[in-house]
Point group: C3
Chain length 340, copies 3
C-alpha cells in the first residue's frame, strides 16, 4: 500500500511523500526499506535518526521530518490500525468441517466456520461471522455471539453465554466447575456448581486460562476485558468493563473487579473482595483487602503504593539500621560506666 | 420439591411449613420466591430478615423463625446435599460415540459413556458408571475406576491408575513427563520418566492442571484430595488424604504433603520436603523447609504464622522505627557536646 | 541386561561382577534384587550400606565395593543413559491415523507418525522420525524438524518453526497471540500479532505451557532450553541456549534471557529486560531490573542474593530490633530527668 492510501483509509495526518510504498511493518530498530514502524514509547526515540524504515507512525508533536510519517495523538492505536490494513485476516470458509460433530438441535448461522473435529452440542447457538477452529467443544445451550474467534482446542461447557467479537486463545476452558466443597469429618463434599459464565462483547482471553462457572448465578466478565495467558478466574467473580488481567493472575471466588482495573502479572486476589474502578495491582502482589477506586497497590500483602515504597526503602536499609542501633547501644553503655 | 420431601430424603430437621415448594437454589441476597438459600458464614446473617427466599438452610442453633428452614450442625454440607437433589445429573447415554477411537484391546464396562473423538488405547480399562466427555485421551494400560467423570479435553497418559468417583476438569494433563535432567557441559539430558501416576478415590482436579508421572515409581494423590485449577504437581509428589490444593499452587518433585493439609492459592513448595498433617500454607507463601503437623505458615520464605505476623507488623512500622533511631542518634549527639 | 553390557554400551567403568543381571531401575531407598540405582546427591549416601539394589551407579571417587557398580564423573548423566537402555522407546508406527486430517498440501516425511484426530494444515512440514500423538493441531506453514515428539493435545499455530528433537508435553500452546493492545478512551484495541515462534533443537516444553507468537518478529527459544509445566513465555521473548525455566514461571514481553540461565519456580520477569548468561533467579522472585551475567537474585522485587539474605536476616530480627530501640528510648529518657 502507498502511505497516502493508509492515511486516507485511517483518516490521519500524512507528512512527507505519500507515494512511499509500504509492504510490511517491523520494530523501529530492525525495520528496513518498504517497512513502516512506530514510536509510542520515549525509550525508542533514539532510533529515529538511524532507522531504515520507509515511514514512521509518530505522535503529532514529535519533531521529525527525515522520513515520511503518519501522525496521531495516539500513535500506538494508529499503528494497531495500520497493522490491521497491512495484514488482513484470511476470509474464512463458512460451514462446518465434515469431521465436526454438530448437533442438529443447534442454531448455527450459515456464515459460521467450524473446524475439524469440533463438537457442538444440543441447544447451542453461534452467530454470523464467528470462526471456530479445530478441536473446540461447545456445550449444551451455550450461546456464542457474532464475529467471535475460538482458536484450536477451546472448551466452553454447557449453558454459557458469549457476546460478540469475543476471542479465545487455544486451551481456554470456560465454565469448568468452581472449587466449592463442604467440609465434614469424613472429607470434602462437592457443592454442585449450577451457575454459568457470561462473557461480554470484545472479551479476549489468553491461552490455557480457566474461567469457572458460578456456584449459584453467573461468573461475569464485562465488555472489553482483556485477559492474558494462564489466568484463573474463580466462580462468581465479576470483572468490570475494559479491565486488563495480565498473565498468571489468580482471582478467587466472588471477588468483584471494577472497570478499567489493571491486575499485573502473577498477582493474586483473595475471595469476596471489591476492587475499585481504575485500581492497579502491581505484579506478584497479594490482595487481602478491598481496594478503593483509583488506588495503586504493591506487595504481598498488598499495601497502597506510597506506603509500600516507604516500607520497601526502609527494608532495603534495614541491615544499616541494625548497625546503627548496635552503635547506639554501645555508645550509651560506654557513656554510663557509673551506672553499671 | 416440597421442603418436607427434602427433609425426609436428607434426614434433617425441618422447622416451619413443610409444604413449601422449592424449585431452585440461590444466594441469600438474591433468592426469590420458590428458592431455597443458606447461611454458613456469619457475614451473611445480615440478610436473614430481608431475604425473599422461601426457605433457608441454617445451623441448628440459629435463632430464626420468619421462614421455614432445614437445620443441621453443618448447614453448608446440608446445602450441598440439597443442591444435589434439586439439580440431579443427567442420565448418561452408555456406550461410545461412533467417532471415538476405542482400542479393541481395552476393557470398557458396558455402562460407560465415551464422547466424540475420544481415544482409548490398548490395555486401558474403564469401570462402570464412568462418563468421559469429548476429546479425551486415555493412554495405554491406564485404569480408570467406577463413576468417574472426565470433562472434555482431558489427557491421561499411559500406565496411570485412577480410583472411583474421580473428577477431572477440562484441560487436565495426568502423567506428563516429569522435569528431570542430568546436566553436563554440553547441556541437559532428559532422564526418561518411567514412573506413573496414581489417583485415589474421590480425587478431583481442576481445569488445566498438570500432574506429572514419577521419574521412578509413582506420583500419588490419595483419596479425597481436591485440587483447584492450574496447579502443578511435579514428579513423585505424594499428597495425603483429604488435602486441599487451591488454584495456581506449585508442588516440586518428591515433596510429601500430609493429610487434611491446605495449600492456599499461588503457594509454592520446593522439592523433597515433608509437609505435616493438617498444616496450612497461606496464599502466595513459599515453603523452603519441612512443616510440622498442625502448623500454619505465611510468607516467602514461609515462617510459622505468629512469628511471621510479628515480623510483618514490625515491617509495617519500619519507616517509623527508622525515624525513631535517627531521633535517638541526634539526641545522643546533642546531649554530649563535651565528647566531641 | 547384564551389567557388563551396560558398561560396554555406555563406555563406562565397571567395578565388581559384570554378570549381574539388571532388569529395571529404582530409587536407592526402595530398589530390590535385579534393579540398578544411583547416588548423585550426598543426601542419599546414607542408603549405600542398606540398599537391596543389585548394582549402583556412583561417582568415580565414591568408596564402595559391597555391590557391583558403574562409575562416572557424572553419575546422574550415566543414570540417564542407563535408563534409556533399560527402557527403550516403543517403535512408532509410521504413517497417519485414518482419522487424522492431514492437508494434501503439506510435506510429511514417510517416517512420521500422526495420531488419531490430528489436524495438519496447508503448507506444514514434518521431518523424519517425528511422532505426533492424538488430538494435536499443526497450523498452516508450520515446520517441525526431525525426531520430535508431540504428546496428545498440543497446539502449534500457523507459521511457527521447530528444530529437531523437540519435545512438547500435552496441552502446550505454541504461537498463541501475544497480549498487545493500544489503549484509548473507548477501550483496548488489539494489535494484530504478526510474528512467529521459533524453537531450536532439543527444546522441551512442559504440560499446559503457553509460548506466544511475536507481535512483529519472532519469539525465540534457543537450542537445549528446557521448560517445565504451566510456564508463560510472552511475545518476542528470547531465551538463550541451555537455559532452564521451572514450573509456573512467567516471562513478560520482549525480555531476553541469556544462556545457561535458571529461572526457578513461580519466578516472574517483567518486560524488556536483559537477564545475563548463567544468572539464577530463585523461586517466586520478581525481577524488575536487568540482571548481570553470573548473578543470583532473590526476592520480590529481586535483589542480588547476598544483600537479599542480609535484608532477610535483619527482617527476621526486626521484632527484636524494635524492642531494643524502645529500650534505648526509655533508657535515654530515664537518664535525663533534668531535661524534662
Amino acid at each position: 500500500m502507498k502511505l497516502q492510501e493508509l492515511a486516507k483509509a485511517l483518516d490521519c495526518e500524512l507528512r512527507g511523500d505519500g507515494g512511499t510504498v509500504i509492504t510490511s511493518a517491523a520494530p523501529i530498530e530492525s525495520a528496513d526499506s518498504g517497512q513502516i514502524s512506530f514510536v509510542a514509547n520515549a525509550q525508542y526515540l533514539k532510533y529515529l535518526e538511524t532507522t531504515s524504515a520507509s515511514a514512521l507512525i509518530l505522535a503529532e508533536d514529535q519533531q521529525f521530518d527525515r522520513l515520511p510519517s503518519l501522525r496521531s495523538k495516539n500513535p500506538y492505536l494508529l499503528f494497531a490500525k495500520v497493522i490491521g490494513l497491512l495484514y488482513p485476516d484470511e476470509t474464512p470458509i463458512w460451514g462446518a468441517a465434515k469431521s465436526a460433530s454438530v448437533s442438529s438441535n443447534s442454531d448455527i448461522h450459515s456464515d459460521v466456520s467450524i473446524g475439524e473435529f469440533c463438537v457442538v452440542e444440543d441447544g447451542a447457538s453461534i452467530g454470523a461471522g464467528t470462526v471456530i477452529d479445530a478441536h473446540c467443544f461447545i456445550g449444551k445451550n451455550t450461546h456464542i455471539g457474532q464475529n467471535c474467534r475460538l482458536y484450536p482446542n477451546v472448551v466452553i461447557r454447557e449453558e454459557c453465554t458469549l457476546g460478540d467479537e469475543v476471542i479465545l486463545q487455544s486451551g481456554v476452558v470456560i465454565g469448568g466447575d468452581g472449587f466449592g466443597y463442604a467440609r465434614s469429618e469424613s472429607g470434602y463434599t462437592r457443592i454442585k456448581q449450577i451457575g454459568t459464565v457470561t462473557l461480554g462483547n470484545r472479551v479476549e482471553i489468553g491461552a490455557n486460562c480457566a474461567v469457572d462457572r458460578g456456584a449459584l448465578g453467573p461468573t461475569v466478565i464485562a465488555d472489553g476485558v482483556k485477559i492474558d495467558n494462564l489466568v484463573q478466574v474463580a466462580h462468581n467473580v465479576q470483572i468490570g468493563e475494559n479491565s486488563i488481567i495480565v498473565s498468571q493472575v489468580g482471582i478467587s471466588g466472588s471477588t468483584k473487579i471494577g472497570k478499567w482495573v489493571t491486575l499485573a502479572g502473577q498477582a493474586g486476589i483473595i475471595g469476596h473482595l471489591d476492587i475499585g474502578d481504575r485500581a492497579v495491582v502491581t505484579a506478584q502482589s497479594g490482595v487481602t483487602k478491598d481496594i478503593p477506586a483509583d488506588t495503586v497497590v504493591f506487595g504481598s500483602p498488598a499495601r497502597e503504593i506510597r506506603s509500600a515504597h516507604k516500607i520497601a526503602a526502609a527494608t532495603n536499609r534495614l541491615p544499616d539500621l541494625s548497625k546503627r542501633v548496635k552503635a547506639l547501644e554501645e555508645e550509651l553503655k560506654s557513656s554510663k560506666p557509673d551506672k553499671q
